[in-house]
Amino acid sequence: MALGTVRGVRAITRADLAVLEALEGLRWDPLVEVAEVVVTLGSTTAFRVLAWTVLLVLLAVRRYQHLFATLALLLVVPLVAALIRESVGRMRPAGVEIVAGWDGYAHPSRPVGQLALVLTIATVVLAPHGLWRRRAAMVTAGVLVLVVAARLYTAVDHPSDVAASLALGVAAPVLALHLLTPEEAFPVTYRRGVRAHLDVGGRRGEAIRRAFASQLDVDVVDVVPFGLRGSAGSTPLRVATPSGALFAKLYAAVHLRSDRWYKLGRTVRYGRLEDERPFNSVRRLVQYEDHMLRLMRDAGVPTATPHGIVEITPEREYLLVTELIEGATHLTDGTVTDDVVDQALAVVRTMWDAGLAHRDIKPSNLLLADGKVRVIDVAFAEVRPSPWRQAVDLANMMLTLSLCVPPAQVYERATRAFTPDEIAEAFAATRAVTMPAQLRSMLREQEGDLVEELRRLAPPRQPVAIQRWTLRRVGLTFAALLGAVVAFALVLANLDLAGLL
């Protein structure tokens, strides 16, 4: 702002030139040659290489929130700097000999600004919090000091030009990334695993302990991830207490977003099978599952006893707490006797009779503990489901059991709880899209076609048509494609404007 007035320009320029003239007096040819090389670290090529490296690393580790924030910063900050440069229209240092190359107006310094921006972003989004980030920050600071020193030594920028560019190039990304991708919600980590599985150490672990104590009057001894295999919609935890252990599912905004994208993707890919409305808050997602657990329990479906909901961060993080079924294995990893088959089929019968559907029957949601079948993860459960959905539940249960027991045996036991017509209808409604991905994948690994085998055992039945194309699906597909094209074109245009292409 000071450069917007004549008095301001005079004062600042006088101070700037005093520094540059002093540095000019210290010039030594070998050092000038070194400075001319160091100055190139702020070149457009260097900026592009660093920027694309950051973007590609984020893409490779699938940290999309950081990727979007980085892309936005790489476009917006240089844009703001360019607007300031055009507005001020400051000349290069005068009264001293400029001994390095330059281009454009001087204030703020484009090369220093770009370098500061990309190195600061890299420090925050690529270096894990703690020692690594401190080291990265020191390297960033060191590089910037070198480049700034070189540019001042060669008199290609005023000191106030580099100061302004550092303020913008460092402060803007730090602030923006803190706002858009706070560390607690988006930790920088390179551990392998499902993105939905959040870290429960550190501050989050402490928050969990406090919340259990204040809301459920439970002292927590330890919280560790538990049963991660087959869980991608939440972070399952084992909560150790003085009187035993509890099971808890940690839900956060990342799970809500996954739920939204999952349902949108299903609608676009497969059409309207049934209600695929996403939840619009983490609280509602957790409330729903807790409610369904209680409904299932009250209806006599053998599931985990609910113990309530714990709020970690209002509207952002919640725990759904249930009993921990000790000593349980996944049904398909245990000994599946006729009694176990009967129990599993009885689960479906009980749900039918109570007007409920699980909608996600698959091996990882069926446990076997002390010879007893328990069904878990009722997040997708439904009240008063359509007959089609009830039929699909039966088919998925029979297919899951057929992974361990010959299909003919499963069919014979099923006829004790269901009529042949009901079983025929179940398999008439079965397609790849009606099976959970885990079940589909495990069936593919089997020799032979278990779906066809079970279908042939049942009375012949015409396939049940699934409504695939609706106005909503057409609209969503078109909007998704159009949005993708527009976003791609805009990003390309702005990448070009930001000098990244």
Partner: protein, 178 residues
Amino acid sequence: MTLRRTGAVTASAALLLGGCALATGGAAPRCEPGMRLATLAQSVPGAAYVPCISDLPPGWTFEGLEVDDDGATITLESDRADREVRVALAASCDVEDATPITPSDEGVRTYHRVDSIDPRYAGQLLDVFPGGCVTVDYDFERGRHVALVTELQAAVSLFARLELRQALDADLDVRLDP
């Protein structure tokens, strides 16, 4: 709306509108002493004149300025021309096959080179002076070319480095040339 969502919306808006902000090309180097003109003067040290933009005739717009330690280029557009006009300041230029015309200013030798007459009227106006030269590159459709060239000659002027140097010294206490 949370702070994070506000930031995300703002960033998205900036992404969407970003390109438009710079579409105007910024402020033109006007024919008045100041830092913009001084930057052009710094691009060719020793050039006795620098190009500047007088009042642009109706329909003409300033599209951009590229300036570095090797010279400067001003880009202009007219709503009656389908191609832009480029005004370049350089340390030297080639006046071969160019015809001398009335000088633009004191101490300046002005030339006109016509590369094409039909179907398009294309060529350069060159102002050669001590330490540098200014080349105006144009390419117009026939029919409108006479008026456009006349307007162009009125729009682009030369500003004396000496005058610029004196003004900067007096107003900003800055010595243009060490």
